[in-house]
Amino acid sequence: MTVSFCGIELEHPIINASGTFDALAAHRAFGDELLERFPFAAFVSKTVTVAPRQGNPPPRLWEVAGGLINSIGLPNKGLSGYLEHDLPFLADLPVPLIVNVMGFSRDEVAELVEAFGDRPEVSALELNVSCPNVETGLIMGADPAETARLVNRVRPLTGKPLIVKLTPNASNPPSVATAAQDAGADAVSLINTVRGMALDPRTGAPWLGGVTGGTSGPAVRAIALAQVHSVAQAVEIPIVGMGGVQSGRDALDLMRAGASLVAVGTESFRDPAAGLRVTSELSELLANTAV
């Protein structure tokens, strides 16, 4: 099932969704068996921002039918903390490393892309564009022109593959994907979480510390399939498909809709080794199916 993605050779098409697997913490919990049976063909790290972030106040989770809503708020050690504490470990993982970055302005994203742009440990960069540009107030990835300005700005800063992670909370994801492609993105990944909300049944007030959050899990799988399908009609560049993948069948569906790689996210919360299971199920399906 080897696959070439933006020039990166991968053993199979199953990777993780950013922010759903912390390889350092998992290594503390599971020891070296994690590295011996690493569940993904490439590792996408949690979003890195320029400054360290504590993240949103708890509570941060709410379980829904077939999924959950999270309001985590991108806690991370910041760029220098990541370079010092996380990157040395992640560089030694048995698979290529994709670093996910997010900035609150184009300058910040540029700073991050530049910082990783020549690092030999990093195989590709993923841009999290699901956040507001503090200068314009627009969600960068919700607007094609804003997305194009961002990608145009950072494209010259690195020769590494640039993946733009699309938000489903946009009126027209295919037009955002097209804008990213035309500005020089090498791939798009989708979907990010779908905006959702829960109320405290006892008080009627918002349950999550961040008020609203992102919905994930099989509850959003049909949305993901439709968005991957529509983006695949619009762009030529490869697509990383994700959203509620629990099985090899789900992964195959996204590939049939146009994805080159498939990411497992929330299912890893239920089973840390879900990536291994999805990969073996997909392998079996592909062996028995003409795709």
Partner: protein
């Protein structure tokens, strides 16, 4: 803090027995290939079948439980029905199957030199204190346990020689377990180290009391948790070092690190 590393991934554990202890259920399961947990560690549990389809089409995520006892390849978990996940787990009988991940998190650390362990438990939070009392030596380890009523006080039989308090006075001391703790700390604050697990208001009272008496305390906390191994960042609690993930930096935390044990969203 002590930690046993978990096998990577989720494994099947056949349920061998279901026992009722008043308002609580103890589920025993066979985990022949799993390692022995350190007292205070926890597991993420899922029923192999019909996980989902309960109230609100839940549960979806696994549920975190401190291990009650572990012996010769058998694990025991103490469960009280509070929602669709615990409801499903309490339905399990011998012949059914659990899926588990664990042991996870940091367990209790031995008491500081010159101090004797003093266990303080509330409700279903007595679970990690049972395995810890076994490890420390049951006869010699004082345990103070609080329950809301007689049905819940049946849980006291899971520890050795506990002193019991109930909210309604139906069993033992009439009042809160923290009143029993106050008496102990008035007598021998210099001689004990407190180990506590229970509902957030109880843990917060224990934390404040131990701070006042300058007694070291290790608190086993609970928080809403999706994964149990540091992936989701959902289970954070505020500490003097900022937010920490209870699943990988806890669930046992030094009371002195906490500003408050009133964890937002816990007990849901």
């Amino acid at each position: 803090m002590t930690r046993t590393t978990a096998p990577f991934g989720r494994r099947a554990a056949p349920v061998t027995a279901r026992e009722e202890h008043g308002a609580y259920v103890v589920i025993r399961c066979r985990d022949a290939e799993g390692p022995s947990p350190a007292p205070g560690q926890f597991y993420m549990l899922t029923a192999s079948e019909r996980w989902g389809g309960g109230q609100g089409e839940r549960p979806f995520l696994p549920r975190a439980f401190s291990v009650l006892r572990a012996h010769a390849g058998e694990l025991q978990f103490l469960i009280e029905v509070v929602g669709p996940g615990t409801n499903r787990l309490c339905e399990l009988h011998s012949g059914d199957e659990l899926l588990l991940v664990g042991p996870l998190g940091n367990g209790f650390a031995p008491p500081r030199e010159g101090r004797a362990p003093l266990l303080v438990g509330g409700g279903v939070g007595i679970a990690p204190l049972a395995i810890w009392q076994d490890a420390l030596g049951s006869e010699a380890t004082t345990a103070l346990l609080g329950f809301r009523d007689e049905a819940h006080a049946h849980g006291a039989s899971l520890l050795t020689n506990p002193t019991v308090a109930t909210d309604d006075g139906s069993v033992g001391h009439h009042g809160l377990v923290t009143a029993l703790l106050e008496d102990e700390l008035d007598d021998r604050a210099d001689e004990v180290e407190v180990y506590a697990c229970g509902p957030p208001p109880m843990l917060e009272a224990v934390r404040a009391m131990c701070t006042d008496h300058q007694v070291p305390a290790q608190l086993a906390l609970e928080s809403g948790m999706a994964c149990g191994f540091g992936a989701c960042f959902g289970c954070v609690v505020p500490t003097q070092d900022g937010y920490v993930r209870l699943c990988v930096d806890g669930p046992v935390l030094e009371a002195s690190k906490l500003e408050s044990a009133l964890v937002a969203g816990a007990g849901h």
